[in-house]
């Protein structure tokens, strides 16, 4: 049985004339430790799908099970616990807490995990040890995103959800961040789901799902992944 099972997920927005099918009959099977890329243009439904996996948005029908545990039946309290236990989130906007230092922002994530990683080691891995006492406004976008990834990964989640993690970053920094994600996958064995519209990123994934208009238009497993550092766009 796959680690993450997504079964017949449907989701719509609006009513009447503004009715839109955001997701239609989505089915996925994700194995533990895989890097998954959900690729698609704006409005294809990839972020909605990520949010449903993250338990911050409900599906109209279908279910998602993580390690056999279905999240469709969960009340808010259980969903919070689910997110706390299994998920790390990285967004395009870093959403760091402005009056906490880098280290503290990461600790905010560490606080949630029972088996949290060593913060200092992680900062080394993230390459932000030198900035650990700075507050977000003193950091570059890349450093902020590294911190944000640190905050997400520090609690050692089963799944890291990354919503356009490089959307606000330049090419070089984007690649650095993607490499970091790749390193984390290798080092901690985290299952990582990346939502992106950047076609190049698909090459670093174990498995790619292409979405358009709320449907999976293609899915394939990368037989030969390209290391993130070698990605070009």
């Amino acid at each position: 049985m796959s680690f993450v099972k997504i079964k017949d997920i449907n989701k719509h927005f609006g009513q009447g004339d503004s009715y839109v099918d955001a997701l239609s009959d989505i089915n996925m099977d994700i194995e533990k430790g895989q890097i998954i890329v959900l690729l698609g243009p704006s409005g294809s439904g990839k972020s909605t799908l990520l949010n449903i996996i993250g338990g911050i948005e409900d599906a109209d029908s279908g279910y998602i099970a993580i390690d056999g545990e279905k999240i469709e039946d969960m009340n808010e309290k259980k969903l919070t616990q689910y997110r706390r236990k299994h998920l790390g989130y990285v967004f395009q906007m870093y959403n760091l807490i402005p009056n906490l230092t880098v280290r503290e922002n990461i600790e905010v994530g560490a606080y949630l995990g029972k088996n949290a990683l060593n913060v200092d080691e992680l900062m080394d891995t993230l390459g932000i040890s030198g900035q650990k006492n700075k507050i977000p406004s003193q950091l570059s976008g890349g450093q902020q995103q590294r911190t944000s990834i640190g905050r997400a990964i520090v609690k050692n989640p089963d799944i890291l959800l990354c919503d356009e993690p490089t959307g606000a970053l330049d090419y070089v920094t984007s690649k650095e961040i993607l490499k970091l994600i790749e390193d984390i996958n290798k080092k901690y064995g985290s299952t990582i789901i990346i939502v992106t519209h950047n076609d190049a990123i698909k090459n670093m994934a174990d498995k790619v799902y292409k979405l358009r208009d709320g449907k999976i238009v293609s899915e394939y497993t990368n037989e030969s992944k390209t290391p993130a550092a070698e990605l070009e766009w």
Binding site: I56, Y94, N95, P98, N99, A116
Partner: protein, 1010 residues
């Protein structure tokens, strides 16, 4: 691991130090003041309760009109199971400003004296006076006071528990420690002072203490009932004794009078008899024999010849003589007329004996014959028999006859004053229409007896002076009045539970406590909402972070707690420090306030958990609830919505379309208004709370002035005299009226004295018509007791149980006192007074012809406005504190909420700067709307303040305080409040302009709030 979010707190405090320091200081100060106030209050209450036994405080006192005898006191004491203590006092005016000192002897049994300075009076010319009165009048130990022309040296400053609050009378609305005080003389000093103004006051203590006010009331009601009976019995006995004495005296005089009349009667009868005899003899002697013969013949109905024959037969002539007589007749020697004369001659008897012979011959009684003869003689003399007697008595016929007639009635009249049947009536007040009626029982008609004496005097035959003297005495007895001064009345009766001079400190403290706590909680709630609004804006600003944290697994509870911690910690620490200050620092301030207002014994401060609960736990709870409700509601939005910045709970953000014709700046400002509605709502509520404090703090000064003017405008007359007796005046301006005082019975309100006026029907002074069977009610009474026309009001005797019910027929504008006005006739009927009864005069001019002894009081403007003066003197300091607090609250709210609006728009402000707007223009955009909200809130507060303060007057001042002061808020108070608000806002706005100018343009370029 500690929650790393906790580290934000100190940073948050630092970054928004202005806001937190302002709120913190406000809380520390405000809670400190409130806690200090409570600690002091509770300490005063504790000292008061302990003082009840320590200072042996009375359970009540009673003032009798005269000194009661021991028997009466013992009876009252026995029936009510209590002990009396003599607390006589003398009330003396001192100084030129109508100051009154109530002077007692030093006390050692009850209501014990606390010395604040110096010592008690020992020598006769030493005096110890109340500390507060002394303070208010700058009197110090060693100073001299002149009372009744004697100089006294002040030896000490004191306080006594029965004047903890210097109420001269329990019906005064406010106490008065400026013109009224109490003082203590040595035993000798007291006895040497004139008794002219002495009051016979007795304090009592129940032998079994009561548990609470309900029991105190029951005991007091029972005592009133028993007092009424005992005093009635006592007074009845007094009247009975006097009536008995009068009757005894009258009886003795009557006995003398009867004897005198008997004597007079026999003397007069004798005189008449003698005069009659003498007059008869004299009259008969004037008749000729022929006249006598004819008269007797006529009365006896016998012919003269027959009579002559019978008379001759009675002469006892011998046969020879008879023969001789017949021969003389036959020979013609004598005519028939001379027959009797010849016979008389032959018999040798005198002519004077002839009349007796005639009478015998006629067969008439001597009296009948005499009567006929006297009448004949009187006729001959042209008079009557009475005329003859009168003449004989030396008087005239008319006077003599009138005297005779009068004497016929005399007997009946004397039966009235018959000493045998003269019995004193049994006096029973219940059976008398009025207590004066016992005098009518002896109302004999002595005038008729005087008339008889006049008639006797007119004849001059008897000297009536002795009888007159007795009659005069009897009349004097009859007219003598029962000596009212011997009757005992209750002039004042006051159980402790109603005594404001004792209880006001505690009542005021608890009333103030409730008010202060209400204010504290309202302000805490305002601050809580302010926190809630600012925190809720922080939440909006941090929406992305919150969304991420929620998505990462932070629970709503964790975040709610996180955002609640600062307000709660600030409040908790503020409250704790406030409490410490409240115990250590502020009580000294409140102690001063207490000592400035009340004449209380020195007291220690006690910390009580109650103060902590009320000023720390409850405010904290209010803060917790308000902040929790607002924040948890705000955080109930889904994580995704936070991430998307969709913070409206329902639906998407709606953009209100504003017509493009509206100028850009106006549209811009309108958007700011919409954006900040919660802040502005809190600002409005806060401004209202601050404004109400500011207005409340400043309303009493002008109110007192306005009230004084009203009193002057609505007074009934320039002079209102209250008399001790019904004396007449020559002054044509003067108009009689009646007044008495009754008490209200409405349990919702404290007991009020109501002046009940009886007004002449055609009064020049109260010109409003009083509908028959109803009363006019003064506007104060109308307003305070919420009356309507047609309502029934029930009033009762102040020291009795009798109740009177009146129908409200209308309202009469008279601001000086709570009064009702009824027609005098109805008044007299209601209170069972005589038709000519009155108690005083209204007059526009001074009544110079009244004796000062007859005047009990003259009420002038100064007296009427007394309450205003008292209110002014006692509320001044406290009120300025309110205004000050209002100003601080204005500043705090305006600062925090205006700052909040600016901060919320920091990015936009930076952007407008980049676009080229000047600082002034930006100020106009972001501050003008806040300015408008502030000004609108200030103005909008006015009607709300009016409603709130009117409610406070009705629900607190009118129900908890006796007397009346109208609800008037001078426009000046509102103007001052608005100026205060605007000035506070102006200061804040200047500060905010600096803040706007300091916002760097770079803020606009940040892609998120950092």
């Amino acid at each position: 691991m500690k929650n790393p979010l906790n580290r934000r707190y100190t940073r948050e405090l630092k970054s928004d130090a202005g806001k937190y320091v302002a709120i913190f200081l406000f809380l520390v100060f405000f809670i400190g003041v409130m806690s200090g106030f409570l600690v002091t209050n509770n300490s005063v209450a504790k000292t008061f309760n302990e003082g009840l036994s320590k200072y042996r405080v009375e359970d009540g006192h009673i003032v009798f009109s005269i000194a009661p005898n021991n028997e009466l006191l013992e009876k009252i004491a026995k029936e009510n199971d209590l002990s009396f203590f003599n607390l006589y006092y003398k009330e003396e005016d001192i100084g030129d400003e109508n100051h009154t000192l109530r002077i007692y002897k030093n006390r050692d049994e009850i209501n014990l004296i606390s010395l604040h300075e110096g010592r008690l009076a020992e020598a006769a010319d030493e005096i110890a006076i109340d500390r507060m009165y002394a303070d208010n009048n700058g009197i110090k130990v060693g100073d001299k006071l002149v009372i009744r022309n004697r100089e006294y040296t002040v030896t000490g400053l004191t306080s006594v528990p029965d004047y903890a609050c210097l109420y001269e009378s329990n019906s005064d609305m406010m106490f008065d420690a400026i013109t009224f005080g109490v003082a203590f003389l040595s035993e000798k000093g007291y006895s040497e002072m004139s008794d002219a103004h002495e009051k016979h006051n007795y304090a009592w203590v129940y032998n079994k203490p009561y548990a609470d006010d309900n029991e105190a009331k029951k005991k007091s009601d029972d005592m009133i009932d028993s007092l009424e009976d005992i005093i009635k019995e006592y007074d009845q006995a007094q009247v009975q004794a006097q009536v008995n004495a009068l009757y005894d005296e009258a009886k003795a005089v009557s006995e003398v009078l009867e004897d005198q009349f008997d004597d007079a009667s026999s003397v007069i009868k004798n005189k008449i008899k003698k005069a009659g005899t003498r007059a008869g003899k004299k009259a008969i002697s004037s008749l000729s024999s022929e006249e006598i013969l004819n008269t007797i013949s006529a009365r006896s109905k016998k012919s003269t010849s027959d009579l002559i024959q019978r008379t001759v037969a009675l002469l006892g002539l011998s046969d020879e003589q008879l023969l001789q007589l017949q021969t003389m007749v036959a020979s013609g020697q004598i005519s028939s007329d001379q027959y009797l004369g010849a016979a008389l001659q032959l018999s040798g008897k005198s002519e004077s004996e002839l009349m007796t012979l005639f009478i015998r011959a006629s067969g008439l009684s001597m009296n009948s014959a005499s009567d006929a003869l006297i009448k004949r003689a009187a006729r001959k003399q042209g008079t009557s028999v009475d005329g003859l007697i009168a003449r004989q008595l030396g008087t005239n016929t008319k006077a003599y006859r009138e005297m005779l007639d009068a004497f016929e009635d005399a007997e009946n009249l004397l039966d009235d004053v018959d000493s045998e049947s003269m019995e004193a009536p049994v006096i029973n007040f219940d059976e008398l229409d009025s207590e004066k009626d016992y005098e009518n029982e002896m109302n004999f008609n002595l005038d008729d007896i005087y008339a008889i004496l006049d008639k006797v005097d007119a004849t001059g035959i008897y000297n009536t002076s002795e009888i007159r003297a007795s009659l005069d005495r009897l009349k004097a007895i009859m007219n003598s009045e029962i000596d009212d001064s011997l009757l005992i009345e209750v002039d004042d009766y006051l159980p402790r539970y109603l005594n404001k001079a004792i209880n006001f400190v505690i009542d005021d403290a608890s009333g103030d406590e409730a008010g202060a706590m209400l204010m504290l909680y309202i302000i805490i709630a305002v601050i809580a909402f302010m926190y809630a609004v600012t925190t809720s804006n922080t939440i909006s600003r941090e929406a992305g972070v919150i969304g991420t944290l929620r998505a990462s697994g932070y629970s709503r509870g964790e975040l709610t707690r996180h955002y609640m911690v600062l307000p709660i910690i600030i409040t908790l620490i503020g409250a704790l420090i406030g409490n410490i200050l409240g115990y250590l620092v502020f009580p000294s301030v409140f102690k001063k306030v207490y000592f400035k207002n009340y004449s209380i014994a020195p007291f220690e401060l006690f910390w009580t958990p109650k103060a902590f609960l009320l000023t720390t736990i409850i405010p904290l709870a209010i803060m917790l609830v308000v902040v929790f409700l607002v924040i948890s509601r705000k955080l109930s939005i889904k994580p995704l919505n936070f991430l998307r910045g969709e913070l409206k709970r329902k639906g998407k953000k709606r953009v209100i379309r504003l017509p493009s014709k509206v100028p850009f700046f106006s549209r811009f400002r309108t958007r700011i208004l919409f954006q900040n509605i919660p802040s502005y709502l809190v600002l409005f509520v806060g401004i209202f709370a601050a404004a109400i404090m500011a207005v409340f703090g400043s309303m009493f000064g002008p109110l007192i002035e306005d009230y004084t003017v009203l009193v002057r405008q609505t007074k009934i007359a320039e002079y209102q005299y209250i008399l001790t007796d019904t004396v007449e005046t020559e002054n044509t301006e003067a108009e009689k009226y009646c007044i008495t005082t009754l008490n209200t019975t409405d349990k919702k309100y404290v007991i009020d004295d109501i002046g009940v006026y009886g007004i002449n029907e055609d009064s020049k002074y109260i010109t409003k018509d009083i509908p028959e069977g109803t009363v006019l009610v003064s506007n104060g009474y109308f307003e305070k007791f919420d009356l309507s026309i047609g309502d029934k009001i029930t009033l009762k005797e102040p020291y009795g149980t009798k109740e009177y019910t009146f129908t409200v027929g209308g309202e009469y504008t008279y601001d000086a006192a709570l009064s009702i006005f009824m027609n005098r006739a109805e008044y007299l009927d209601t209170f069972d007074e005589d038709d000519d009864w009155f108690t005083g005069y209204f007059s526009h001019t001074q009544l110079t012809d009244l004796d000062s002894d007859d005047i009990a009081a003259v009420i002038t403007e100064a007296d009427l406005a007394k309450i205003a003066t008292q209110l002014g003197s006692s509320m001044g300091a406290m009120m300025s504190a309110f205004s000050g607090l209002g100003a601080v609250l204005f500043l705090l709210l305006m600062y925090i909420l205006t700052k909040q609006v600016i901060e919320k728009n920091t990015k936009s402000i930076a952007l407008t700067k980049i676009l080229g707007f000047t600082g002034g223009e930006i100020g106009k955009l972001y501050l003008l709307i806040t300015s408008l909200v502030v000004v609108a809130s200030l103005f909008l507060s006015i009607p709300l303040i009016d409603v709130a303060l009117r409610w406070m007057f009705k629900s607190y001042m009118y129900t908890e305080m006796s007397g009346y002061i109208p609800y008037i808020i001078s426009n000046d108070c509102y103007i001052r409040m608005i100026i205060m608000g605007v000035v506070c806002y102006a200061l804040v706005a200047v500060g905010m302009m600096f803040k706007i100018n300091k916002i760097p343009k770079g803020e606009a370029l940040k892609n998120q709030e950092l």
